[in-house]
């Protein structure tokens, strides 16, 4: 419990730090959102209209940074992330809520699959050292060094086309509207296959490697020998004793690497035109859309934090030593 409270305190602190960072970074960005907007559309606006845009965006007020900071918090507590500039006057929260599910599903599912697949293979490679499983390592090392986006683009080139089963872009078929029905869901799954595969291929090797190393380390622990000495079956020793213990460091590693994974998927979303937050962020950057940028960065950070917290809870459940009372 104590451990848990400590973690929560840490997350609150991190969230605070991230939000503050998030507040300041866009303020250091040079340039001006109104101009960026005009440039984005290579548009032609009268100076009067430009003035009115400044007013609309709330950029006219001369507030102290501190005041802005307080306002920002105040807004956050009301769940208000402001209005997007690029998609003016759509609220940022609306944009995020439409794109977040995509990212969450894609990243979430692939990460979990990648984690379990990688861990499983790692257990094999670590437990049956010297067998075929060792051959896995060089291949995975190479694949993990390939940039996500490169792999994605090649996948698009090789696997998509007019008659291909794999769509080259988007999150679902055109003409469809997101809904839980038999038209939309298969289409969404179909569209997610390639991005998911890309993420999977480039992220799975990390898990294989770290799990293998942990397995090797754990294998030489006394309790493994004891488990063998107890005459337990090889399977049981491998899973309940070795893998179970080797998993622990990987679980916390899992949580911490989420940040990296999110970074990677951002690129995958860009390449596959996947309607997730990563792509939104990319667009918001180009358009100087502070509120959207802030909102997305905040959401990404908070998702990572939440995932971390979940992983921590999992760790808590998996490792009795952290449950020390008192």
């Amino acid at each position: 419990m104590k451990y848990f409270l400590q973690r929560v305190a840490f997350y609150l602190f991190t969230a605070w730090a991230a939000i503050t960072l998030n507040f300041f970074i866009p303020r250091m960005v040079p340039g001006d959102p109104v101009q960026a907007l005009i440039t984005k559309f290579q548009g032609q606006l009268s100076s009067k209209a430009i003035e009115s845009l400044y007013v609309l965006f709330g950029l006219d007020k001369d507030k102290s940074v501190w005041q802005e900071y307080l306002d920002y918090w105040n807004q956050l507590f009301h769940g208000d992330l402001g209005l997007s500039f690029t998609f003016f006057p759509t609220p940022v929260s609306e944009i995020i809520s439409s794109s977040l599910p995509w990212t969450l599903t894609l990243v979430g599912i692939t990460t979990v699959i990648s984690f379990f697949l990688g861990t499983g293979l790692g257990v094999l490679a670590g437990w049956r050292r010297g067998s075929w499983a060792d051959g896995l390592l060089p291949v995975t090392t190479f694949l993990s060094s390939v940039p996500y986006f490169w792999l994605g683009i090649i996948a698009i080139y090789l696997l998509t086309g007019p008659d291909s089963f794999f769509p080259s872009s988007g999150g679902f078929g055109s003409g469809l509207v997101p809904a839980w029905d038999q038209y939309f869901i298969p289409s969404a799954i179909q569209h997610s296959l390639l991005p998911a595969l890309t993420i999977l291929i480039s992220s799975v090797s990390g898990w294989i490697l770290s799990m293998r190393n942990m397995m090797v380390t754990v294998s030489s622990e006394d309790y493994i020998t004891v488990a063998h000495a107890k005459g337990l079956s090889d399977r049981r020793v491998a899973l309940s004793y070795a893998a179970r213990n080797a998993l622990l460091p990987n679980v916390s590693g899992f949580a911490l690497s989420l940040g990296f994974i999110v970074g990677g998927t951002l690129l995958v979303e860009i390449v596959f035109s996947y309607p997730g937050v990563g792509f939104q962020l990319f667009q918001a950057l180009g358009a100087q859309d502070y509120p959207l940028m802030q909102g997305i960065f905040l959401i990404i950070t908070i998702s990572v934090l939440v995932a971390n917290l979940i992983a921590d809870v999992a760790y808590l459940l998996l490792d009795p030593r952290t449950r020390k009372e008192g």
């Binding site: 104590k2 409270l5 400590q6 305190a9 008192g326």
Partner: protein, 354 residues
């Protein structure tokens, strides 16, 4: 030039003295403690008096976690103390780094339990010894002086010929050799007092004795004052002039080694001696098993038992032991033998007899 001054003062002179030495480690505060004003501490060492004399070995015996190492580190000024005083040649010393600390450790040096851990694996023996000599100004002025000093050091710890060892890395030496290097490093400072924290417990049985004999030899030749910390009471008997027994952060008995080991007074000392392996007590004769040895669990040091800390385990505990802290009491048999146990309070003795 000899880097280590031989015999500065007559034997028997007090070199280092601890008076009422106390060390409490703060316990990491928990979240809920933030709201209360509780400050839990580990009572690692409480009110310990200890005297190291030139040319004498004092052994400190006690079970694991009783605070032996803490005393050594306090004496080496590696920890700031919570209370009490450490006097070097009768002068109060309280140093926290800087030149004063260096001056102090040129006189008081420490040897650690684990020779595998106390030498930096990335440095050669030469580096270790040279640093020790240089820091304390014992390296002379020329390269030749240094080489000579290094040779002297290694010879002193019987690592001969010196050239064979100087450029080795610690991992290339055996445990006994490493511990000798550690001792040489301590000697490099030219100390008057050596604090040896379980210097042989990590060594192989067959080489332990060599190191102990070396230390004894150094005591005699250099008139060093040595604090010998161990959990092996038999080796204290073998090696030390005086033996102090420690239990849960407090000294419970002290005196001449032979007396303490042969006629222990404190129930804890008795338990300790009884528990030590004794080849003469062969497997058949398990009649000794009849004695109630108490349970083996040491007490919590965060909330130590009131009164005598041994009372929960003590087979002869009295009511008074639960409430009153025992004071060191002279035991009649040999001068200088004392025990902190109410059994030896003359009034109580009478009571016990009744």
């Amino acid at each position: 030039m000899t880097s280590i001054p031989d015999a500065k003062a007559p034997a028997g002179e007090v070199v280092l003295e601890a008076i009422g030495l106390t060390k409490h480690f703060p316990v990491r505060r928990k979240l809920r403690d933030l709201f209360s004003h509780r400050h839990d501490v580990v009572h690692a060492v409480d009110d310990v008096d200890l005297t190291l004399r030139r040319g004498q070995v004092v052994a400190l015996v006690g079970e694991s976690g009783s605070g032996k190492s803490t005393i050594a580190r306090l004496l080496a000024q590696l920890y700031p103390r919570t209370g009490g005083d450490i006097q070097l040649h009768g002068e109060t010393t309280k140093v926290r780094g800087g030149a004063a600390f260096r001056r102090y450790c040129s006189q008081v040096q420490m040897i650690f339990q684990d020779p595998f851990a106390s030498l930096n694996p990335t440095h050669t023996i030469r580096y270790h010894l040279t640093r020790s000599l240089k820091i304390h100004g014992n390296a002379g002025t020329t390269a030749g002086d240094l080489a000579q000093a290094l040779d002297d050091l290694l010879e002193r710890v019987q690592l001969t010929p010196p050239e064979r060892y100087l450029d080795k890395f610690p991992h290339e030496l055996s445990g006994g050799q490493r511990q000798r290097v550690a001792i040489a490093r301590a000697l490099g400072a030219g100390p008057e007092a050596l604090l040896a924290d379980e210097p042989v417990s990590m060594l192989d049985v067959s080489i332990r004795l060599g190191v102990l004999n070396l230390l004894r030899d150094l005591r005699d030749r250099l008139d060093l004052a040595i604090l010998y910390i161990t959990h092996d009471i038999a080796s204290a008997r073998y090696f030390a002039d005086q033996t102090m027994v420690m239990y849960a952060g407090r000294l419970v008995e002290g005196g001449d080694s032979e007396t303490v080991t042969q006629s222990p007074a404190h129930p804890y000392t008795k338990l300790l001696i009884h528990s030590a392996p004794d080849p003469d007590r062969m497997i058949g004769g398990s009649e000794a098993e009849g004695e109630d040895a108490g349970n083996g669990e040491p007490p919590s040091l965060i909330h130590p038992p009131t009164g005598c800390r041994f009372h929960p385990r003590c087979p002869v505990a009295m009511e008074r032991c639960r409430t009153d802290l025992p004071v060191p009491l002279q035991i009649g048999d040999v001068p200088g033998h004392w025990a902190a146990c109410w059994l030896y309070d003359s009034d109580d003795k009478a009571e016990v007899k009744q």
